[in-house]
C-alpha cells in the first residue's frame, strides 16, 4: 500500500534514523528497512520488552497503560510505539 510505504519513508528520512520495523502482536516483523537477521533480532527482543514494560505499568496502576517506550544506549536510542495489534520500532542515532 502506498500510504504505508510513504509513512515508512518519512520516518526513515528523519535525521539519524538507522531503521524502522513494524511488528505484529505475535512478535513477527511485518515490514522493515533493516536486513533480515537484525530485524528478527530486534522484533523478538523488543516485543518481549514492550510486553514486560506494559505489564509493569499496569501492575503499578491498573488504570494506566503504556503509551511510548524509549531505550537510550551509548550508541543509539530505540523508540517503541505500542498498540493492540502492532508495534512500531524506530532506531535512531541521536548524535551524528
Amino acid at each position: 500500500m502506498a500510504e504505508v510505504e510513504e509513512t515508512f519513508k518519512r520516518i526513515q528520512a528523519h535525521k539519524g534514523v538507522i531503521g524502522v520495523i513494524v511488528v505484529n502482536s505475535e512478535g513477527i516483523p511485518i515490514r522493515s528497512t533493516l536486513d533480515n537477521s537484525t530485524t528478527v533480532q530486534y522484533a523478538g527482543l523488543i516485543s518481549q520488552l514492550a510486553a514486560k514494560a506494559r505489564s509493569t505499568v499496569r501492575d503499578i496502576d491498573p488504570g494506566n497503560d503504556l503509551t511510548f517506550l524509549r531505550i537510550r544506549s551509548k550508541k543509539h536510542e530505540i523508540m517503541v510505539a505500542p498498540d493492540k495489534e502492532y508495534l512500531l520500532i524506530c532506531i535512531q542515532s541521536p548524535h551524528d
Binding site: K15, G16, I30, V40, R72, E85, C90, P94, H95
Partner: protein, 530 residues
C-alpha cells in the same frame, strides 16, 4: 701261417710274439671302466631329521549382541524460520501508522535537538580508575641486546607479538633475532619466556598479525625479506617468504600491513603491503592454493615526488628512490593511504594511482608506479609513524624525528595541530580503537603520552613511564606502542632494551564520550573552511 715278405726278409714271428691273442689281430675286448673323482665338485653330505611342534591348543568363543538400540538426531534448520515476514491482511496497518507517526516524529525531532544526555555517562564495569602496568614481558634469551622494533596484537586480542631487532646497524646485519609471542590469557604466563619463539636470521624491523586469522603473522627483516608465519603449524612455522630477489626489497622493510582486498569478491581476503627504505611499496597477494606470496602490485617513491624545499639541491637526480618509513590506510576508503618518508615529506597516495616514474635503477617484474596524489606540509626529519583515525575519515596523525606530533586533515596541506611535548624524538603514535579523541605517543625519554582532544589544552592527560631504567638513571626510549582492538583498556609499549609493558588504562580514558567524535570532527573539519 702267413708268410710275410718285407723287403725279402721273411717275418713270420709277428703273430706269434703277440701274447693273449688267439691268433687274431682284432678281437673284442671288454675293458673295466675307470672312475676318478672330480676335484671341483664337492660331495654333498646329506642328513635327514624331523621336528614337530607341541600340540596345538584351540579355543572357540562366540559372541553376539542381542539387544538393539537406535537413536536418531536431526538439527533444526533455523534459517528457514523467519525467511519471510508475516503477511498482514488485517488492513489496519495504515491506520495504525497514521496514528503513531506524529508521536514518533515528535520524539525523533526532540532527540536530535535535546541536550539532556550530553554529559551523562553510565559506567557498568567495575573497572579501574587508575593506570597501571599489568605485565612486563621480556625474552630472557635475548639478554637485552635487541630492541623492540614492532608490536602487534592478534585478531582475538589475546596474544601479543613482538619483533626484535636493532636500529643502529652500520652495515650488513648479522644478528640472529626472533619473533616472540605471549598469550596474555594463559594462566601460567611466564613474563620472561615467550610462548612461541620464531627464529629469524637477521633483525626483524616490523610485524603485523593478520586481521582475521589469529594464526597468521607477517614480519619484515633488515635484509628486505617479507616473511609470513603460520602459528598453527607444528614444525616449521614459516609459511612463505618473499625471498631476496629483484622483486623484493633491497633495504630494511620499515612496515608491513594487511589491507583488505577490495578487488576480491570474497570477504576476508587480505593483501600484504610492505614498505621499505628502498622507496618501494610492494603489494603481495597470497595464492590460495600454494599459500605463497607473490608480487601483485608495486609503487616507488622517487626524488621527483618530494616537495622542492626538501630537495637538497636543484641538480639532485629526480630518479633516485626515497625511503618510505611508514604507511597507513584510510579507515573508510581502503584505496587511499598515506606514507611518511625519510626526508620528512608526507604524501597522500592511492592504490589505483598510475603516475609514471623514471626507470632509475630498479629492476622489477611489475611496473612500479608513483602512488602520490597529494603532498602535505613536511616534517623536518624522518616521519616515524603515520596513522589514520579509525573513526574519522579525514584525520591522521604523524610523528617525526623533529620531536613533533602533527594532526592533519586529509583535505588540507597544512597540519591542523602541531604538538611538541618536549620529550625528544617521538618514535610512534597511535589512535585509540575505542575513543575517537584519544591517542598515544611514545618518546625518546621513555614516556608514553596519552592525549585527549576533548581537553582544551594541548598537553598530555597522562604521562606513563614505559621505558626501562638504564644505567645512567635515564629511561630507555620507547620505540613502539599498540592499542588492543578487542580489550580496549590495554595498550602495549616496547622499548629499546627489549622490554614490553602492557598497561591498563583507566575507564575514563577507554570509554568514549558521546561528544568525542563530534569534537574530533569539529577540529578536523572546521579548519578546512578557513
Amino acid at each position: 701261417m702267413v708268410r710275410v715278405f718285407v723287403f725279402g726278409i721273411e717275418i713270420t714271428e709277428i703273430t706269434n710274439n703277440i701274447p693273449n691273442v688267439n691268433n687274431k689281430m682284432f678281437a673284442d675286448i671288454t675293458l673295466e671302466s675307470v672312475t676318478f673323482k672330480s676335484n671341483w665338485k664337492k660331495e654333498r653330505s646329506l642328513a635327514s631329521s624331523g621336528c614337530q611342534t607341541s600340540e596345538l591348543v584351540v579355543e572357540e568363543v562366540a559372541c553376539q549382541s542381542v539387544k538393539y538400540k537406535s537413536v536418531k538426531t536431526q538439527t533444526e534448520d533455523d534459517s528457514d524460520k523467519f525467511s519471510g515476514f508475516a503477511d498482514d491482511n488485517s488492513g489496519h496497518l495504515a491506520e495504525f501508522l497514521r496514528r503513531v507517526e506524529p508521536a514518533m516524529h515528535k520524539q525523533l525531532e526532540m532527540n536530535v535537538k535535546s541536550h539532556a544526555f550530553d554529559d551523562y555517562e553510565v559506567t557498568w564495569d567495575e573497572g579501574s580508575s587508575t593506570m597501571s602496568s599489568i605485565h612486563k614481558l621480556t625474552n630472557a634469551a635475548h639478554d637485552g641486546q635487541f630492541q623492540i622494533t614492532g608490536l602487534s596484537w592478534n585478531s582475538t586480542g589475546a596474544v601479543i607479538a613482538a619483533s626484535y631487532g636493532r636500529f643502529d646497524h652500520e652495515d650488513w646485519c648479522t644478528h640472529k633475532t626472533s619473533l616472540c609471542t605471549w598469550n596474555l590469557e594463559r594462566r601460567n604466563l611466564d613474563e620472561n619466556k615467550p610462548d612461541t619463539v620464531l627464529e629469524v636470521s637477521s633483525c626483524l624491523m616490523c610485524t603485523a598479525f593478520h586481521p582475521s586469522n589469529p594464526a597468521l603473522i607477517a614480519g619484515g627483516t633488515y635484509n628486505g625479506v617479507v616473511i609470513v608465519w603460520d602459528l598453527s603449524r607444528e614444525d616449521d612455522m614459516v609459511l612463505t617468504s618473499s625471498g631476496i630477489g629483484d622483486d623484493s626489497h633491497r633495504e630494511p622493510v620499515s612496515k608491513v600491513i594487511w589491507v583488505p582486498d577490495t578487488s576480491s569478491l570474497k570477504k576476508n581476503k587480505y593483501l600484504l603491503v610492505s614498505v621499505s627504505s628502498d622507496g618501494k611499496m610492494l603489494v603481495w597477494k597470497m595464492d590460495r592454493k600454494t599459500k605463497q606470496i607473490e608480487l601483485h602490485d608495486g609503487f616507488v617513491l622517487m626524488n621527483m615526488n618530494l616537495p622542492t624545499q626538501l630537495r637538497k639541491s636543484r641538480t639532485m637526480r629526480g630518479d633516485k628512490e626515497v625511503g618510505v618509513t611508514c604507511i597507513s590506510y584510510n579507515n573508510e576508503n581502503k584505496d587511499s593511504f598515506i606514507i611518511g618518508s625519510e626526508p620528512g615529506a608526507v604524501f597522500k597516495c592511492s592504490m589505483s594511482a598510475n603516475g609514471e616514474q623514471p626507470a632509475g635503477n630498479i629492476i622489477s617484474s611489475i611496473q612500479l608506479k608513483s602512488p602520490v596524489t597529494f603532498t602535505y606540509a613536511h616534517h623536518y626529519g624522518p616521519v616515524y609513524s603515520a596513522e589514520f583515525s579509525p573513526f574519522h575519515r579525514n584525520a591522521f596523525l604523524t610523528s617525526s624525528m623533529d620531536q613533533t606530533l602533527r594532526l592533519y586533515s586529509m583535505l588540507q596541506k597544512q597540519p591542523i595541530m602541531t604538538l611538541e611535548p618536549g620529550e625528544g624524538v617521538i618514535y610512534s603514535t597511535k589512535w585509540s580503537f575505542s575513543r575517537p579523541a584519544l591517542f598515544a605517543a611514545t618518546t625518546d625519554t621513555g614516556l608514553l603520552l596519552l592525549y585527549d582532544l576533548t581537553q582544551n589544552q594541548p598537553v598530555p592527560v597522562y604521562k606513563l613511564e614505559a621505558g626501562g631504567l638504564m644505567g645512567n638513571n635515564a629511561r630507555a626510549p620507547v620505540l613502539t606502542c599498540q592499542f588492543n582492538q578487542h580489550q580496549n583498556n590495554l595498550i602495549a609499549t616496547g622499548d629499546a632494551m627489549g622490554c614490553i609493558q602492557v598497561f591498563r588504562i583507566s575507564d575514563s580514558l577507554k570509554t568514549p564520550l558521546s561528544r568525542d567524535l563530534e569534537i574530533l570532527g569539529e577540529l578536523v573539519d572546521i579548519t578546512t573552511e578557513s
